[in-house]
Amino acid sequence: MMFACCRRNTFLITHKRLRLGFRCASSASSTAEPADTIFALSSGQGRCGVAVVRVTGPAAGGALRRVAGLSCGLPAPRTALLRSIVHPQSKEVLDRGLVLWFPGPHSFTGEDIAEFHIHGGPAVISGVLQALGSLPGLRPAEAGEFTRRAFHAGKLDLTEVEGLGDLIHAETQAQRRQALRQMAGDLGHLYNGWSEQLKRCLAHVEAFIDFSEGDLIEDGVLNQVDIAVPQLQMEIEKHLCDERRGERLRSGVQVVIAGSTNAGKSSLFNILCQRPAAIVSPIAGTTRDIVETSLDIGGFPVLLSDTAGLRDTGDCVEREGVRRARQMVGLADLTLVLVDSMQLPQEPQMVSGFLSEYLKNVLPSAKDHEQGYVLILNKSDLLPKEHISMIQNVLTQTSDMAPVSILSCHSREGLDDFLTLLQDRLKTLCGDPLAGSPSLTQTRHRAHLQKCVDALNQYYEYRDTDLALAAEGLRLGLSSLGRITGKVGAEDILDVIFRDFCIGK
């Protein structure tokens, strides 16, 4: 990943070894057809002066002409052209930027590719992605789709192919975290609720198809579906209309402070916020819920969260706090793992063993190496100087340990070094397009929801003439929703059928 990031700039125009020219979807595996035209943001978020959006597929040329207002034809291949980027429906000017045209087969994917180099602000990026999504035949790319197309077109050399799986894995993970974050709370509740409703509708129609003649399933079953489907469709449509206003994008790098109780997590949080946002006290278990704030650290957008100290507890409120803390860590791009130096073993040789055990406890899966973390030993002011340097010596010799910061929130000693380290990590994360883009996630969700609404129309169209085709509409709708909330298979449907009906034939 690191390799890919530092070489990004050189690849933006040359298009030769494009190792990060794609952005992926959530955990769903790609079921997209090769002939679709897909688009993705292929640069990072945050302090990027320029963001790059790519479109590949047969409709790429048309999309370029419509969005860049090129009525008289496509630009010369591989030549940058300065244009206004316009929303094809509202005609609103979204940005002014460079556009490039790479006709197939001499492109990264072997297909026609259009590229937009626009300003890096979230509003601009979001606007351009929405504009592309509104064009017929275009949809956001799924996990690893750009690279997969390049692979199928034979455009990757063998060493690149070797790295491809890892790349897609990392990308899928980052996208999964991003999607879960966007889905957390009300939105997820809403989507899951729709998916449940639609699943039930489909199950009832399927029950009516597969069992009605031999069993006691009456036409009344369909009446319920007839009421539920239009309601569902209306709700989704309403949501699609007001989504842009109502939904706050959770953008920025998600940084979570975690560790055992009384390690000084809230103190560090307050220092980073430069205000007493979290209550700090010497009583273990003071912080119980997630405390969250948006920050700008060295120019990078950060969503910083303080969490409850991780310990087994009988208090049910605190237990819920610990559960939330662990969930938060699972979704984080970067975890600041805080350790109370006073808890370290006296014997410096034992320190690294202690710390790796500690990490295992804090991070959900110690094997999960793409989960970034920084280890921080707090309360250094309470340790003798020579002890600290002994620990430092031991830790530098332990090769598999991530960088360790030793600091004191109380005396502020070591804080500058830590901030430098943190900024470095943020820079990497922000420059890495894999860190997940909320606006793309949003665009994807919108695309799937719209598809779902369209598919549901098929239900009414055939309700009275051909139930198999009507059910097909519900199936398609559910599979679109499933791209957001998780796949619903034939067995899930059968489970609902056998739960709700007594099938005896």
């Binding site: 595996s29 790609s30 079921t31 057809e33 090769p34 002939a35 996990a143 690893g144 997969r148 692979f151 192919v161 070797e162 491809l164 799986g165 890892d166 897609i168 894995h169 899928t172 399927e206 009516f208 198809i209 597969d210 069992f211 009605s212 003649e213 031999g214 069993d215 006691l216 055939y462 009275d464 003439t465 051909d466 139930l467 198999a468 085709l469 009507a470 097909e472 199936r475 034939a490 067995e491 449907i493 059968l494 059928i497 056998f498 007594c502 099938i503 005896g504 034939k505």
Partner: protein, 699 residues
Amino acid sequence: MLRLRGLLIQHHFLSNCSARTASSVACREYDVIVVGGGHAGTEAAAAATRIGAETLLITQKIETIGALSCNPSLGGVGKGQLVKEVDALDGLMGRAGDYAGVHFSILNRRKGPAVWGPRAQLDRGRYKEFIQLELLNMPRLTVIEGSVEGLLVSTADPEQPGKHTVTGVRLADGGNEILSSSVILTTGTFLSGSLFMGKTTSPGGRMGEPPSCSGLTHSLREILGLKLGRLKTGTPPRIVKETVDFSLAHLHLPDLRPTPFSFINTHTHCKPEEQIPCHLTYTTPGVDRVVRESLHMNSHIQQDTKGPRYCPSIESRVLRFPGRQHQVWLEPEGLNSDLLYPQGLSMTMPLEMQLRLIREIPALQRADIHTPGYGVQYDFVCPTQLFPWLQLKSIQGLFLAGQINGTTGYEEAAAQGLWAGINAGRTALSMPPLSLSRTESYIGVLIDDLVGHGVTEPYRMFTSRAEFRTSLRPDNADLRLTPKGFEEIGCVSSPRYLEAVRVRQGLSEALSALKSITMSPSRWKEKLRDACISETKSTLISGEEMLQYKDVSFDMVASAFPEILSPYLEFSERIKIEAVYRPHCEKQQREMERMREEESLSLCPDIDYFSLPVSLSDEVREILDRVRPSTLGAAMRLQGVTPAAIVHLLNYVTRTGRRSRAQRDADRQTKTPDCKHRPQTDQQAESNQNQEAGIVVQN
């Protein structure tokens, strides 16, 4: 029908012929041995024979070949599709149904042709008669009575995947050995079967027949190390017809015009007016009471072995949904039978309680039981141990089909039997095995579900299992499978093939003709006065598009353009269906092609996933090792296999594929024979052919 009468005359002569004793075949060697004469066994033997293999069928009693051991009916929603597909591949079941049916109806008539369920009540005697007649007269097929005690197994051919290779079977009574390189086991519920009624348990797979297969179970579990599971099922008591008061039940009439199952039959053996009705009645609160009172005397229901959720005994229905009326169908057992089959009353309580229970139903107040209901528990072989061509992955030449794979139902058994028979025959004749895709048939869906996911309850086909349901319709099974059956598989006779080609040609011409007729909506309205056509459309409408209107039939359009369309009137119904479904099938086409492409990338069955030099997580390695998917497509459908893992696998497959292609080229130059066990789907070739022939099928 003519052919049947001809055969009937020879019946006596030939059935004498076939009564060979086990000793007379003992020293012989066969291409294929089929063990079991149920629906799977008979289709397997017939299919192996059709593709040219010298075949032996071993059954306990020739007399029970083709017996319908449970309900006297065939087809239904989902199951009817399987019957049509078995028929399209020239199997026996569809034609047997047309010969034995006494009450034909198409279920779901109101719900769209894709989910129509052709179904028939059967005459048990006639069904058996037809199947026995066919089998006992089949060239290259020998049928003997006997009981198989064990499998002959030797060390595996190191060139092929698998730990053992089968070399034949050993018979009970004297231990005669018969050799064969392909053996198909279709032992149904006889694998460690036990029968349950009340508190008594006895060994066996079907009431009134000796238990068998204890040696086989031992062979499979202990010697071959296969993973077995246990399932249960049951059958209702048979009721004496003359003791039933039909005036208290609802009459249920068959279709006025019976529709045959088989694509080569134009009518059924039973004349429309000879058909006999069914009756429908309901359970009462008294039935609930008897079930509850008898629970302590019912050991079958107390067992936690998995039974089917969709065909439960009356006991489990009452326990799961108390206080409801449940349907009971009173089905005839045959034209001249004195018995009735009460569908929905499968039960395992003691006989005296069974009698009390049925007499709680008004129409059965004075009914007598001829044979009591009972439950069966039996072993099955976990089907994830099979290749999609139904051979065990660990034993070369050993194929399994039917209930032994955890399915339930005649149609599911027949479908597997047919496919196992084809592949056992091909293996014996040194041809590569074949798999059917989910995109082309319900048989493909059935087998893919079995080998890909295994079973947790007896597996039955539902249309909701087929993701491409609107393309895999009962009406087009012949277009989907018959040409392939003849051209690639060799299991279809040439007259049937020629008929399918003729139909394909006719449909294709008719649809082109319809497309060529284009007019404005108002002109159409003039031509077809009865149809309600929306005139809002300003564009021209083709004849094909006109058929997409609900009320417009092909006959109506044909009467407006007799000179162009009258030659195709015989296909009237099929043309209408094709026209309605075509746009939807075209939308599915791309998704289907993608699936076929993935299915065409085969994963070698003996890959050691734990040492595979690609980056896979331990979890994914474990899943792949456990399930051993045969193709990349099957791997993608496994839960827990990540997109990244798929890319690694794809990469691996393409790399090794390239290497093995190079290897093969080198081999060819040195004249060594080609790899025998490479699965073929050859979808691509087929679809190309289809395109050339201008077919209208969306398979």
